[in-house]
Symmetry: C2
Subunit: 351 residues, 2 copies
C-alpha cells in the first residue's frame, strides 16, 4: 500500500500539494488534481484516515446499535435494515459512513456500548430498543458522544430522541375496536423493560378510561416480542375464562404466531376474535384474513434520525439550524379484515 510520500515522489510534486489535491482543497489547479488522483488510483494509494482521524478526533463513522437476538434474526426482522437507506442518504451528504453494531444477545447492552465507545470506532451513535431505565443514555451523555435514541427512557434528561407513536397506536386501536362494539380488549405487551411497553400500556389504559371501560389486568398478556410471543399470547387468551373479543398487538411479527395458535384452536381471526397488529410488515402480508395494522416509512424515519443526530454534532449542526427536535413518529392505520366484525349491544357478533 502506497502512502502520500511515495505518491509525491512519483509525481515529483510536494507532499503538501498532493495532500491538498487529495483532500479537495480549492488552491490546487485542476490538471494537478487530476494527475494526483490518477496516480493515487494506479499506485493503490490508500489514505491513512486513522492517523488523520486521531488528529482531528473523528472517524467519520456513525454507529447504529442494534440487538441481534436469535429471535430477531430467525424472524427475519427487517426493521433496522430498513432504516439504513434513509440514514445513508443523509450521512453521505457529509461524507459520513454508517456502520451497524449488533449487540450479541447474551451481552448486556450497556457493557457492549461501553466497549464500543472505548474502541473509538464511531463519532456518534444511534441507539435503539431503549429500556425504561437505560444506563446507555447516561454513558453517552457522560462521555460526550453525540447520540440520538430511537425510543424514550426514564433515564437521562434533555437528550435527543425519536420514538414511534405507541400512544397513538394504542388509542386509535382501542377507539376502532370500541366503535365496533368491543369492550373486552386484550393487549399483548412486551415481557421485558423496554420503554415502549410502558407507553403502550399507558395509552391503552387512557383510551379505555375515555370510553368508560374498566381496566382489567388479566387482559394484559405479557409475552416476548416475537412470532413465538404471538403464539403464546393466543394460547393465554384461549385459556381465559372470560375471553376477550379483541386483542391489540405491540410487535409486528406477533400476528403470525397468534394466527397460527388461533387457527389450531379453530378460532378465526376477524370472525371469532378481532385482531389489530402493529407495524405493517412484508411477512404479515400473507396472513388471511388480512391484518388491520399500522403503516410507517422506514426510509423516512432513517432520514429523520440522521438529521436529528447531525443537528447535535458541532461539525454539522449549522446545516440543521432547526436543531435536534424530539419527535413522535406517526403511524397510519391500514384497515384489514382481521377486526372487521361488529359486536351487538349484547356482546354477540352482529355480522
Amino acid at each position: 500500500m502506497k502512502g502520500i510520500r511515495q505518491l509525491a515522489e512519483h509525481l515529483d510534486i510536494s507532499i503538501g500539494t498532493v495532500s491538498r489535491a487529495l483532500n479537495g482543497k480549492p488552491d490546487v489547479n485542476e490538471e494537478t488534481r487530476r494527475r494526483v488522483l490518477v496516480a493515487a488510483e494506479e499506485l493503490g494509494y490508500v489514505a491513512n484516515q486513522s492517523g488523520r482521524s486521531l488528529r482531528q478526533g473523528t472517524t467519520n463513522v456513525i454507529g447504529l446499535m442494534i440487538e441481534s437476538s436469535k429471535e430477531t434474526t430467525e424472524n427475519g426482522d427487517n426493521f433496522f435494515l430498513g432504516l439504513t437507506g434513509g440514514l445513508q442518504s443523509v450521512l453521505s451528504r457529509h461524507k459520513l459512513d454508517l456502520i451497524m453494531l449488533p449487540c450479541p444477545s447474551d451481552e448486556d447492552p450497556h457493557e457492549y456500548l461501553k466497549r464500543m465507545v472505548a474502541r473509538r470506532v464511531v463519532d456518534a451513535m444511534i441507539i435503539s430498543a431503549t429500556q425504561r431505565i437505560d444506563k446507555r443514555i447516561d454513558l453517552l451523555s457522560r462521555t460526550k458522544i453525540p447520540f440520538v435514541t430511537l425510543g424514550r427512557s426514564a433515564s437521562g434528561s434533555n437528550y435527543p430522541w425519536i420514538d414511534l407513536d405507541f400512544d397513538g397506536v394504542a388509542n386509535s386501536a382501542v377507539d376502532r375496536l370500541v366503535a365496533h362494539g368491543h369492550r373486552r380488549i386484550a393487549i399483548a405487551a412486551p415481557s421485558n423493560d423496554i420503554n415502549l411497553g410502558f407507553i403502550f400500556l399507558d395509552g391503552y389504559r387512557h383510551a379505555l378510561e375515555r370510553h368508560g371501560i374498566a381496566f382489567d389486568p388479566s387482559l394484559v398478556i405479557r409475552v416476548k416480542s416475537s412470532e413465538q410471543g404471538g403464539y403464546q399470547a393466543a394460547h393465554e387468551i384461549l385459556l381465559l375464562e372470560d375471553r376477550p373479543t379483541a386483542v391489540i398487538l405491540i410487535y409486528e411479527l406477533m400476528a403470525i404466531g397468534l394466527y397460527r395458535r388461533l387457527t389450531e384452536a379453530g378460532v378465526i381471526p376477524g370472525r371469532d376474535l378481532a385482531v389489530i397488529g402493529f407495524r405493517e410488515e412484508p411477512r404479515a402480508k400473507f396472513l388471511q384474513p388480512t391484518l388491520t395494522c399500522f403503516r410507517m416509512s422506514l426510509p423516512d424515519l432513517g432520514v429523520e434520525l440522521a438529521e436529528t443526530l447531525l443537528a447535535t454534532m458541532p461539525a454539522y449542526s449549522h446545516f440543521y439550524p432547526e436543531g435536534a427536535r424530539n419527535c413522535i413518529w406517526p403511524l397510519e392505520l391500514v384497515p384489514g379484515e382481521s377486526d372487521g366484525f361488529h359486536l351487538g349491544n349484547n356482546g354477540q357478533r352482529r355480522q
Copy 2:
C-alpha cells in the same frame, strides 16, 4: 470522561499499576485489581482504545460488508443478520467485535470498501456477494488486510473463501426433477454478474448433460434476486411457447413472487409447474403448497467464516492450526409439495 491519570490520582496508586490492573496483567494483587475496577466503574473511566490501537495497529473490530439494496431490506432478507450470532460466538473468544458495513445500494462496492479500508475501522473483513470479477479481492490482497469472502470469484488467487454449494443444489434439483419425469426444466438465474449465478448455471448444464437433456438457452430466465424477480420469472415462463414443466430458483425469496404470478394465471405450483426453491426461509414457509427447498444453518456458517478469517490473522492463527480452508458449504434438500407431481413418458402429468 475520566482517564487513567485521574483514576491513579483518585486511588493514590501509580499509573503503571492501574494500567496493569485494567489490562488484566498477572502481577497485580487481587485486592488492588478489585479496587481499580470498582473505581473505574464509579468514575466513569473509559479506556482510550483508539490510542492503544494505533500503537498496536489494531482496532479489535471485524467488519462484515453487506449490501443494503432497497429490495433486500424491503424483502426482510435475514441472511446476514442470521450470520451474526455464529460470527460473534467465535470472535468473542478473542475479545473481538463484529460490525456490519452496509454498502449503500447506489454506491460501487469497490469504492465503498476502499473508503472503509482508508477509515481503518476494522482489522479484518468478511465480504459477500462476490462478483465474477471482483476488484475488492485485489484491493484487500494489496492492502494486506486479512479477509475471507463468502462466495468465490474469478479475481484474485489463493484467497480464503467459503461458498454455498450452488453446484450441488443445481445438480440435486435437476436429478430430482428428472426422476419425476421432467425434461423441460427452467432456471431463474440472477441478471447481474454475481459469481454464484455462473456456478449455478454451470451446475445446471452439467446435470442436464448427465441426463442427456439438451441445454435450451430460452429456459434460462434472467431476473433480479428478489421477490419481484420471482414474479417476473413466472411471467416470462408463462409467455414461453413451449412451456417448461419445472423451474429451479436460485434465491430464497423468489418463490414468493413466483407463486403469486402463477396463482394469478391459474397455474398451480406442484400441479401444473414443479418448483424447487433455494434456501429454506421463514417467509417462504407460508407458501401453499409447501416449497421443496434446501436447508442450511446460518449460525454454523457464521462460525466457519469467523474461524477461517482468524486462521489468516497472524495474532490468532495459532488458535486455528488447521489454517484457512476453503469450503463449499452443504445444503440439505427439504422435500415439499411444490415438485410433487410426476410426468409420464408422454410428458403428461401422471398424478
